[in-house]
Symmetry: C2
Subunit: 223 residues, 2 copies
């Protein structure tokens, strides 16, 4: 398993994100990477030479098992570093992504092992995304979007999708954080916005564009 360049790592990470085991179109990959289609064509050719992907011209690119394994390891590093930045250095959860994108390229298996241990082998990162295990196992993503819950349902926020820094500051100003529980008070028939009640009694409205990026598990309160 040879060590990859930073660009190569970014490509297989993007391929895993966009398609996991499925084929990804040149265009989607180009958008995700932020390069032109012609650059992507070239890049995936190089990746194919290293058996990280399989390419069918005009049809798309797909990770090989080897490529997928490597992608997962990079994801593991990314999420461990994000956890470190928030838990140990006190960064806000909206700030850590670009820094983790740099840190994830550092090559040292021992560093990853020690970092994970230092953090207490966390199961999920500050956004609630699962941290792949060292053996390559990727736990499933937790939670369902708030839109699926009905009035009266209590739930625990377990994950948020990265929808930009404005989304995060909105979350912060509403004091929404992972682990918090709320009850659905009502749902607007007009625009699907949701009224939530905090455990201490106060309540507030959440637009559907907000709630679509918030994932939760129902709590079956002991009666």
């Amino acid at each position: 398993m040879k060590t990859l360049t930073e660009s190569e790592e970014n490509y297989i990470k993007a391929l895993y994100y966009l398609g996991d085991r499925d084929a990804v179109s040149n265009g989607d990959l180009a958008t995700r990477i932020g390069a032109k289609g012609s650059s992507v064509t070239q890049a995936v050719k190089r990746l194919a030479l290293k058996s990280l992907v399989e390419v069918v011209p005009y049809r798309g690119v797909r990770l090989t098992e080897d490529g997928r394994t490597q992608a997962i390891h990079i994801l593991r590093k990314h999420r461990l570093w994000e956890t470190f930045l928030v838990e140990k250095l006190g960064f806000g959860w909206e700030e850590v992504h670009p820094i983790a994108e740099q840190l994830e390229h550092v090559q040292s298996p021992e560093l990853v092992r020690r970092l994970a241990a230092f953090l207490g082998s966390p199961e999920s990162d500050p956004h609630g995304d699962p941290i792949p295990h060292e053996n390559g196992h990727v736990p499933p993503k937790q939670g369902r979007p708030l839109s699926v819950f009905e009035a009266g349902q209590e739930f625990e926020v377990v994950r948020v999708e990265d929808a930009g820094s404005e989304f995060f500051s909105q979350l912060d100003s509403l004091q929404i954080a992972l682990g918090n529980t709320y009850t659905v008070k009502s749902i607007s028939a007009f625009d699907k916005s949701i009224e939530l009640e905090r455990s201490e009694g106060s309540s507030f409205w959440l637009s559907s564009s907000m709630s679509n990026n918030i994932y939760a598990n129902p709590t079956y309160k002991q009666s």
Copy 2:
């Protein structure tokens, strides 16, 4: 102050190490970087275009004030990360250099600030080398080589030079660590090897090639 490539950062770091404000020869720089002279000639031309160095053909290269400032910031990052790796992750002091060489290239001033705070704003790294301040001030290197001490003198080990992993394991097996104090019991007239006495009474001999890489401050014991 534009952001540099990893290669550029390595060049200015090498220039700072080899010459600080003095000119460095192409050959010395090539050896340090691990590249051929012709590559170095090219590289320093690029650096000169960015006003990081001044080049006089056939005469050598010298950092500009801007280049020097940037070198010091990289050194600060390097030594902070080494401290993190040893203090927080439990790495041995002989293992951390190559990992810190990767981490030092991560770009985020806020990360450096928070890392320093997290570590308690350390003055020196695990080898006893001074950590440059955020404002660019570089504290002087501490200690003098053991060879300058005379029999009967007590001293505190404050710094070691990186002389390879065998050197470090030798230090470990003799239980020599920063902060420890010893007394010079005798000095061999033949090969300048030194007999040292530990505070608990036991003693051992140290070859001059070992002692030349160990730096200490005399302790003036209160009588």
